[in-house]
């Protein structure tokens, strides 16, 4: 009996378990998935919690509901991967051996890495929405907030779902309009990149949108520390941005397990081949999702496309054939832009987001790089798709590789 061991039962681990359980013979392959947490979080939903649009119940379900029949769930944290011995030590002292290992341990925020952030003002004038607790605390704060200068700051890239901070600030614009407070709120987006949109065509098509919504962008802002008492962000070059309410997207890192096991880069992400997701140093370790060091977005949609091409590749791998370079970095993200509208981006490693229609060329129904109500419904539907189709590894009638049909490169 061969052993496939999956660490992490999040978006990636769960999808892989479901897809491979169907594809692999039960008589030949044992599949085990380990995770200390028994709750599955729909993280894209965290974005809507601060504005009272979703509640906790909309974003959590029991992990076991998504583990396929014929796979074993072990409730434990992996403490150390010993690649030379092909085994994993668990925090509870047990050891699990493997023939093939899949790492899907995700990425996590580290506010403590920026001085001043996680100190006396944490949860008061400084908030975040990348964890469920953080999003709920922020919702509570916004319910009674009377206005002032709200600054959204990305500390450092890469972050999960790189567009979420922009969506947050556009939803905030809508939220304060509805509350009749918008004229008493200043909205500021401070980013370490050279602008809110950095790819030439996306910035040409979307650059106006923040201006129209009266959202100020502070580009090239690299925060060195926060002064929680004076309520200001301080740049390495000593320039400052003041706030009344700071919504931070703290530094992200991969799980410590990766570092402890000697498999990570400077942010604990595992270097992998970007077309096959195979570890660069081990030929029986694959890495999926946020845990991988890949030049594409850390997003659920990316995982879906990566897993799509992986199943066939894994069967080749098992038969001793060469892996095909099947993954092209394909991502698509629905971006909430407020007032019941949304945007949609579709891109991969080589091709930047372009305008057009998706998924049916010329027809849509989704418009690329353009605001529409349909795109908003796409995002709303995404939650249902996530729980009912994506996690369970059911097929979507969408091609995994990006298509250039129905797009124009201007």
């Amino acid at each position: 009996m061969k052993r496939l061991l999956i660490i992490g039962a999040g978006t990636a681990g769960t999808m892989i378990a479901n897809r491979l359980r169907r594809a692999l013979d039960v008589e030949e392959w044992n599949i085990t998935i380990v995770d200390p947490v028994e709750t599955h979080y729909y993280q894209p939903g965290f974005l809507f919690i601060p504005f009272g649009m979703y509640s906790k119940n909309d974003v959590v379900k029991p992990t076991r509901d998504f583990i396929p029949v014929g796979a074993d769930f072990v409730k434990a944290a992996a403490d150390l991967i010993e690649p030379d011995q092909n085994r994993v030590k668990l925090a509870d002292g047990r050891t699990l051996g493997y023939d093939v290992l899949v790492i899907g341990t995700g990425a996590y925020i580290h506010p403590e890495e920026t001085p001043g952030l996680r100190e006396q003002e944490w949860g008061r004038s400084i908030h975040e929405f990348y964890t469920l607790e953080g999003a709920i605390a922020l919702a509570r704060h916004l319910r009674t907030w009377q206005g002032g200068r709200l600054v959204v700051n990305v500390v450092e890239n890469p972050i999960k779902c790189p567009v979420a901070p922009l969506e947050f600030i556009m939803l905030a614009d809508w939220f304060f309009h509805e509350k009749g407070l918008r004229d008493r709120v200043e909205l500021v987006y401070a980013t370490p990149l050279s602008g809110a949109f950095t790819k030439p065509i996306a910035s040409k098509h979307l650059g106006y949108i923040l201006e129209q919504k009266n959202i100020e962008v502070v580009p090239d802002f690299v925060v060195e520390h926060v002064d929680p008492d004076a309520k200001k962000l301080v740049h390495y070059d000593e320039s400052e941005v003041e706030y009344d309410l700071l919504v931070t997207i703290p530094l992200h890192k991969g799980d410590e397990l990766v570092a402890r096991s000697g498999l990570g880069d400077e942010l604990n992400y595992v270097p992998v081949d970007r077309h096959t997701l195979l570890s660069k140093t081990r030929d029986n370790i694959f890495v999926f999702g946020d845990a991988a060091a890949l030049p594409t977005s850390k997003a659920g949609s990316v995982i879906h496309y990566a897993v799509d091409g992986f199943v066939e590749n894994f069967l080749r791998y098992v038969d001793g054939l060469d892996l095909l370079p099947s993954f092209d970095g394909h991502a698509n993200c629905f971006i909430e832009s407020g007032f019941g509208k949304g945007l949609l981006l579709d891109f991969n490693y080589e091709v930047e987001p372009l305008p057009g229609r998706y998924p049916l060329p010329g027809v849509g129904p989704f418009a690329l790089l353009q605001e529409s109500e349909m795109n908003h419904w796409g995002k709303v539907m995404f939650r249902w798709m996530y729980w009912n189709i994506l996690l369970k590894g059911k097929e979507l009638p969408l091609p995994a590789r990006m298509s250039m049909m129905g797009k124009w490169a201007r």
Partner: protein, 106 residues
């Protein structure tokens, strides 16, 4: 795509003045771009960072390294990077090193 003569050599550049073919780069070009960016002379400290970026970018599939990759790889602190390459070291080094602009995905 536009071209520009830098330090006597014609190179391809994009709208924002970043070179698009790292193979066209040489040290004289770096020095000339540095002057345009307000750095009158490149010292050893500058070169340590530039050389690092040139070598790692290949490993990153042509992507310019992030600030953290630079600090981790060279041992030069972020604060020092800001004094060597004022106002946006990651972007400035990338430009001087003949690499693409560090970008997000949108």
């Amino acid at each position: 795509m536009a071209t520009k003569v830098i330090a006597g050599k014609e190179v391809q550049i994009n709208d924002e003045g970043f070179m698009t073919d790292p193979a066209e780069w040489n040290k004289e070009i770096a020095a000339a771009i540095a002057v345009e960016e307000g750095i009158s002379a490149l010292t050893d400290a500058h070169w340590k960072v530039i050389d690092f970026c040139r070598t790692t970018t290949a490993g990153l599939g042509g992507k310019s390294p992030t600030l953290r990759q630079i600090t981790a790889g060279t041992g030069v602190s972020t604060k020092e990077l800001f004094s060597l390459f004022p106002k946006g070291p990651a972007k400035k080094v990338a430009k001087i090193a003949g690499l693409g602009k560090p970008e997000g995905c949108v």
